[in-house]
């Protein structure tokens, strides 16, 4: 008698294979990604008077504060760029990265009540977070562009060039970098939550190690290699170079940044997958 080989749609085993992403399952849940994006984006400023205006208030106030503290008091150089434009460009871009990183880094802890009741590919959540931050970036870019065009017309110190068209690539690199490191941290914090305390001020510290509030050119060349170890440095500098015409642009460091971000993402997905199956018992 021939044993009939049965076909099963689903098999559950104690361990995941290491890099099995299950893309078809992710694809099936694409509507869920959109729902999460919609939820995150539309509920941030619910029941506030100023509503979506808050998307602008935060970068405006930060820019003003930076102009006063770093520009007027500490007198840090801005490469000849008007201070407001210089700080706003750095903040807009940096915020996207730091939001992606911080808000994906507590995926498991923040969503443990949903994860504890329903199964769907867990990666849906961090991916939707990155996309909703992308929308936030879009809104804040409009503020940047308004200020940018104002200075472009009134000042002769700004010289945009073709590197500007690398902008989408920069966004992708930052998103991947934020997502990758966020995934790593979220996986590491499920059991031992020590890293959670590090992350918020760690990102703040990282900002000072990245040329956000000062130009890379103001760093002496002996110390500059330390700055260039930071993969965010190339991204920020390329952005400033493309839009403002000042800054440093090197294909090499940009490629390195891209490679590092992809590596981070691969490691992140790998650890995330490993933790995903058992995190409910330890979170």
């Amino acid at each position: 008698m021939s044993e009939q080989i049965e076909k099963w749609d689903l098999e559950i085993h104690p361990k995941n294979s290491l890099l099995k992403l299950n893309l078809s399952e992710m694809w099936h849940h694409r509507d869920l990604v959109l729902m999460f994006v919609k939820r995150d984006f539309s509920t941030v400023y619910k029941q506030t008077i100023l509503g979506p205006l808050w998307f602008f208030i935060q970068p405006i106030l930060t820019t003003l504060m930076f102009s006063v503290v770093f520009g007027s008091i500490a007198k840090l150089p801005t490469d000849g760029i008007p201070q407001v434009l210089f700080y706003l460009s750095g903040i807009t871009i940096w915020n996207y990265f730091s939001d992606c990183l911080i808000s994906t880094s507590d995926t498991f802890i923040k969503n443990s009540n949903i994860f504890g009741k329903v199964y769907f590919p867990r990666l849906v959540v961090p991916i939707s977070v990155v996309i909703s931050n992308l929308m936030k970036l879009g809104v804040q870019m409009s503020l940047f562009l308004v200020v940018y065009f104002y200075y472009l017309i009134t000042s002769d110190k700004i010289h945009p060039n073709s590197i500007l068209f690398l902008f989408p690539l920069l966004i992708v690199v930052m998103g991947i970098m934020g997502l990758g490191s966020g995934l790593i941290i979220s996986a590491l914090t499920t059991k031992y939550r020590d890293l959670r305390f590090l992350i918020t001020f760690g990102v703040q510290l990282l900002m000072y190690a990245t040329p956000v509030i000062y130009p890379l050119s103001s760093i002496t060349s002996q110390k500059r290699w330390i700055m260039e170890l930071n993969p965010m440095t190339a991204v920020i500098e390329t952005f400033k170079y493309g839009f403002l015409g000042k800054g440093t642009f090197s294909v090499m460091s940009l490629v390195i940044s891209a490679v590092v971000s992809i590596l981070l993402l691969l490691i992140g997905v790998f650890i995330f997958n490993k933790v995903e199956k058992k995190f409910m018992d330890i979170v």
């Binding site: 049965e6 076909k7 099963w8 749609d9 689903l10 098999e11 559950i12 085993h13 104690p14 361990k15 995941n16 099936h28 849940h29 509507d31 869920l32 959109l34 729902m35 999460f36 919609k38 939820r39 539309s42 509920t43 619910k46 029941q47 009540n113 949903i114 994860f115 504890g116 009741k117 329903v118 199964y119 769907f120 059991k191 031992y192 199956k277 058992k278 409910m280 018992d281 330890i282």
Partner: protein, 430 residues
Amino acid sequence: MSTVIKVENISKLYRLGEIGTGTLARDINSWWAGFRGKEDPNKKIAEKNDRSKKGNSEYVWSLKDINFEVKQGEILGIIGKNGAGKSTLLKVLSRITSPTTGSIKAKGRIASLLEVGTGFHPDLTGRDNIYLNGAILGMRKAEIKQKFDEIVDFAGIARYVDTPVKRYSSGMSVRLGFAVAAYLEAEILIVDEVLAVGDVEFQSKAIGKMQDISSDGRRTVLFVSHNMSAVKSLCTKGMLIKQGMVEYMGDVSATIDRYLTGDNDMADTGIIPVNLPRQYWTGEARFLKVTLSDTLGSEKKIDFYYRSSFVVNIELEVLRDIQDAIVSIMVGTIDGVKILYVDSTKESAKGLVLKEGKYHISAEINTHLLPGTYSIYLGLNHTDGRTIEWLERVYDFSVLKSSVESDEHYRWRESYGFVLNDSLIEISEK
């Protein structure tokens, strides 16, 4: 019928206690053993899942070697005491947590409903939450759109559909959550206790919906509940889980009977602790034990069929001679409303003469209570009214919706309960 779920040797290990600095050492220990290809030393010392005993090991098998198969179209009722491992099993089946050993194979989409309204966002409207919750449960947007009106209709919230869910009453959001899940098109549905919420009308509506879902024989349902009448009316097959193992699997009535008559914990044996804090107590006598049995004599029952009589059995210890005692038994609801009062004055109006020693007291209650949960209250007085002992809610029990005779099942608006005060209290020295 083909097998749609096949569970093989599923076990689940849990660690008890807190995670802290100390656990790191054991993690490294486990990891090092695995690295060298040896068996995890922490797994070896794991113990059976028995929550009432204080074990020696920090590790416990919440599930141990579970094997079963479910065929297409079956509605499997999973029952067992709190902590037996039912929910863990459902969590493993719904891929929320992974098993420690073993494998599960399934055909078709599994949708789990371990909670209603998972992921509801309080600031979003009912409409947005239907889409969000549906997507979380695995539905496509187009699918939800197509069923949207039916969902709103079933939940009965048409008027509030554009109001944020945080303004809903809790019952409304529960109904909305269940309505979304009810329209899931999954081949296998896993349901945990969700019927325990909502009002009576909604509960029967929900059970009706579950029966509809499974009536075409295509879809399979796994249903966990403590509500025996729901299990009995809904399920085609039963599974009893005890201490993380399958104790029995088979016909649903047989499974329920096995569960109800199975041995109980110390807490369920009816023994009244000597050190129980007593509001009134003169020290002359104390109740030792109270249990309920059916009229056929099977002891320690906690669930009774609708329209069946039951017997209250009490053990009383008299510490000092009493010349004029009245024993009273009351049945009330668990929130303290007394329904029935019987006492020993019919036997002797001047009071019972109780000598030092132990007595056995019993009374048959022929009252037909409506389905629900009730409790026993006990009193011992002097004839002049002075309380010797008064105990509230010493023994909880339930009256089921189903009856011994199938044509006498409880039916809403057609069935009535009644209270008979004719019980005689029998008292005998032990």
